[in-house]
């Protein structure tokens, strides 16, 4: 525990000194697999158009507010059909899947999620033309959700 706490302090301190967050690391293979199973296509989602808003430093992993916004006119011809959220290191990687359409006017959803530990959270959007877009955010959690007791 002491060691973990120290690591955390060091990690936090390091970021303060650098003033920037570490570069985006590659997503864990299990997460890539979960995303591929959802996507149902071999093509990898592109980065962009989706914006996942989540605090980079979370004190309580039991209820973390998130919102996902997608750049889309939400017209009959060009709209977001689905938004999905995955975590990298929760016991189950799926978080939620949202079904949308032109009737929504804006592609924006918000909810509150659990984070078992510090990890990447990924939001994905499936557009009406079949294209997939994603945004991953690396989140540092100081008090984990009591998912594993």
């Amino acid at each position: 525990m002491t060691l973990r706490r120290r690591t955390l302090v060091l990690a936090g301190g390091g970021w303060l000194v650098l003033g920037v967050r570490p570069a985006q690391a590659a997503l864990a293979p299990a997460l890539v697999d979960a995303v591929r199973a959802w996507a149902d296509t071999a093509a990898a989602p592109r980065t962009g158009r989706v914006r996942l808003e989540i605090a980079p430093l979370v004190e309580n992993g039991n209820a973390v507010p998130i919102s996902v916004k997608v750049e889309s006119p939400m017209s009959a011809a060009d709209h977001v059909r689905e938004i999905a959220v995955f975590t990298e290191r929760n016991p189950q990687l799926d978080v939620a899947r949202f079904q949308l359409g032109p009737v929504n006017g804006r592609a924006e959803v918000a909810t509150r999620i659990r984070l078992a530990t510090s990890q990447n959270v990924v939001a994905l959007a499936r557009l009406s033309d079949g294209s997939l877009w994603q945004h991953a955010v690396d989140v540092l959690v100081t008090l984990a959700a009591c998912i594993e007791g």
């Binding site: 039991n62 209820a63 949202f98 079904q99 929504n104 006017g105 804006r106 909810t111 998912i147």
Partner: protein, 109 residues
């Protein structure tokens, strides 16, 4: 669920035709993940909301498939382009036969 289920719905009032409005819904639910042991070390069985839907006069306008990583008392916010007045019906389904339904009026001027 022996006790009455509490749910909160927020629909803006005085909506003009063509406005895009935010709808918010929260329901009281433990969202037991199924990954937690109890005091004796036995796994507490999963008890979550698995599906949330909102319909406007019978047309699905938003749906969510929900997993244990959604926090207790699940909260969802989404947008809706208000074209006409109608009745919004919100439904939640979950483990152990959980079902709940709420309605709210959408008044478009």
């Amino acid at each position: 669920m022996a006790t009455a289920v509490r749910a909160l719905i927020h629909v803006p009032r005085q909506v003009r035709q063509g406005d895009i409005v935010e709808i918010r819904a929260t329901i009281a639910h433990v969202m037991e993940t199924g990954h937690r042991p109890d005091a004796e070390g036995r796994r507490v069985p999963r008890d979550i909301v698995t599906r949330f839907e909102c319909e406007l006069d019978g047309t699905l306008v938003f749906a969510a498939d929900v997993y244990p990583a959604v926090a207790a008392n699940p909260y969802f916010a989404f947008d809706l382009r208000a074209e006409r007045s109608g009745t919004l019906v919100f439904t939640w389904e979950g483990d152990r036969g959980f079902q709940h339904r709420e309605t709210a009026a959408l008044e478009v001027t």
